[in-house]
């Protein structure tokens, strides 16, 4: 995509909105695939993967963290989550972002000097290397596990799993409705910026760009309120009186119990050996 030097924020916003929609579509496609995790009960996946994320957070040994990371990659592979997608969506961004944050810790963390940067007299300490390793590996592992959950479980199933974990029904209902309308608002915003871009001649000055961004956000806000009013009336027309009920059609099969036991054993083992 060619970017204008001064009006680039419109293109970047369009690109961001497009990527969000694409990400949601990829997740839905992958979640309805035929991998190992896709066939499991959503409650097992939410509880199991969350337990592994917590286990990774509790690790105090780098090799144990690396083992949980390898497990996360293996779970992604057997669930047919494309590895290149994991690399593009999780590993590279997390490495760049967290790596940039962790890098100064190499020099700032007090400890035993292991290496000196030539010409700068900065010492990389053993403790600095370890703490940077902890941070990067922990973030990569947790983010991989989170994406495995997103890419193997349709969002409607995640909502039902949350309900099973006693999250208040009204929260679950709001979450569900919000997810549904996010896609609509993303599309609305995308169309708004596309139509503005197609009508633009020349570059806008800084104040004009800010005015455009604020006006777009304002229109989107007004539309959101208008939409919520329409939805409210539709809900009233269908008999909604404030009590939210959700269908609960989840059923545990023998393999789900087996998977739950496996997740519990792996998480417990990770915590045990990693401390």
């Amino acid at each position: 995509m060619r970017r204008r030097r001064r009006g680039g924020f419109v293109e970047r916003t369009i690109e961001g909105l497009y990527q969000a929609a694409q990400r949601a579509l990829d997740a839905e496609n992958s979640a309805s695939g035929g991998g190992l995790l896709q066939g499991l009960d959503a409650r097992v996946k939410v509880a199991g993967l969350l337990a592994l994320i917590v286990a990774a957070s509790l690790e105090t040994r780098l090799w144990a963290m690396a083992a949980v990371f390898a497990l996360a990659v293996a779970l992604a592979a057997v669930s047919r989550v494309p590895i290149r997608l994991l690399a593009a969506r999780v590993w590279i961004p997390a490495l760049v972002f967290t790596g940039a944050i962790a890098a100064p810790a190499l020099f700032l963390t007090p400890g035993v000097a292991r290496y000196r940067v030539p010409g700068l007299h900065w010492a990389v300490t053993a403790q600095g290397l370890t703490t940077a390793g902890y941070l990067v590996l922990r973030v990569e592992t947790a983010a991989t596990l989170a994406l495995v959950l997103v890419f193997t479980t349709p969002w409607a199933r995640v909502l039902k799993a949350l309900r099973a974990f006693r999250v208040p029904v009204v929260f679950v209902a709001i979450l569900g409705m919000a997810v549904r309308y996010i896609l609509l608002l993303v599309e609305t915003a995308h169309e708004m910026f596309e139509s503005r871009k197609s009508r633009g001649v020349g570059a806008l000055d800084a104040a004009g760009r800010r005015h455009l961004a604020a006006a777009s956000a304002g229109v989107l806000l007004s539309r959101s309120f208008q939409l919520s009013g329409d939805i409210y009336l539709a809900m009233q027309a269908r008999g909604f009186r404030g009590d939210v009920c959700l269908m609960d059609d989840l059923a545990m099969k023998p393999r789900d119990w087996l998977a739950l036991a496996g997740f519990a054993a792996l998480a417990a083992a990770a915590v045990w050996v990693g401390r």
């Binding site: 924020f9 970047r12 916003t13 909105l17 990400r23 949601a24 997740a27 994320i53 990774a56 957070s57 105090t60 969506r89 999780v90 967290t98 810790a105 400890g111 370890t130 703490t131 902890y134 941070l135 922990r138 973030v139 592992t141 947790a142 983010a143 989170a146 994406l147 997103v150 995640v158 009204v170 929260f171 709001i174 979450l175 409705m177 919000a178 996010i182 609509l184 608002l185 993303v186 915003a189 800084a206 760009r209 800010r210 961004a213 604020a214 006006a215 956000a217 304002g218 989107l220 806000l221 007004s222 959101s224 309120f225 919520s228 009013g229 409210y232 809900m235 009233q236 009186r241 404030g242």
Partner: protein, 354 residues
Amino acid sequence: MHIPDGYLSPATCAVLYGGATPFWYVALRRVRKALHTRLVPLVSLFAAFSFVIMMFNLPLPGGTTGHAVGIGLAAVVLGPWAAMLAVSIAIAIQALFFGDGGITAIGANCFNMAIAGALVAYAVYRILAGRAAIGSARRAMAAGLAGYVAINVSALLAAIEFGIQPLLYRDAAGAPLYCPYPLSVAIPAMMLGHLTIAGFAELTVSAGVVAFLQRSDPSLLKATAGRGAALAEPAAARSLRPLWAGLGALLVLTPLGILASGSAWGEWMARDFADPAARHEIAAASLSHAAPLHAPEGLARWSQIWTAPFARYAPPYIRSAAFGYLLSAMFGAGLVLLVALAVGRLVGRKEPAV
């Protein structure tokens, strides 16, 4: 601003989930009471809007761009409690359905941005906007400053959460297990980016959208405008101006405090008892009674419990004593105003906002 998994210890995350839960409970009760059957569609749609607004690439002064969280806007349009719910839902959706931000850190992110951010934004907006007319420029500016202050308070909370990690969690060799930077690094590092780029992104979106709504859909601003705002004359709003001007003048004059030398009587620190110069000052101020050779045991022990971020009104990361004094004054005055507002709301009038 969104804390990913891995930066905070599970214990910190659990505490922040615990800290957020009562606010969610109260918010849900208040919003449900106010909106009843409208609760689900209104909060859902605003959560969806908050999610989408976080993707907007905002042009900022200086040619750079940034992303806003939309806390100020949410608090101005919905009021603090509904905003709290909507932004929390948006944060949860990002983590659970899009894999952005941490799942274990949902509580921390909600506490910092949705809860503290919404309360601060609403307080700042109501204080600064006063009873100004719905369409007044002052109201748009108040919304912008509300967003700016709220995002910075959220960032400060996140920085404090980061900064306490190396104090609490280290491995056997002394390497920090989570965020490795102490408060003295985490606070300036976080605040630098938020006082500039992220703060201005929040200011731009809050002030810009409120200005837009004033022209196109002012009814959306009525809920949080206070009683009689639409009818109030600008003169009514001016009544607080002298007070604000006085407070501003006092803040500007605070560096005069540096002119005074030594510590106030009785406000000594544990280390002063080992410092000959400080001991001399203590004796001179105590009718020539010499100070004990060591700090009292209780003082020595309790002084280890808490180190103030702005100790002696001189933040360690600011070289200029005058600016440090001024910053301390602004921080302290802001806290006092927030507490006063909170107490006023607890014991006083009922607001129409939810």
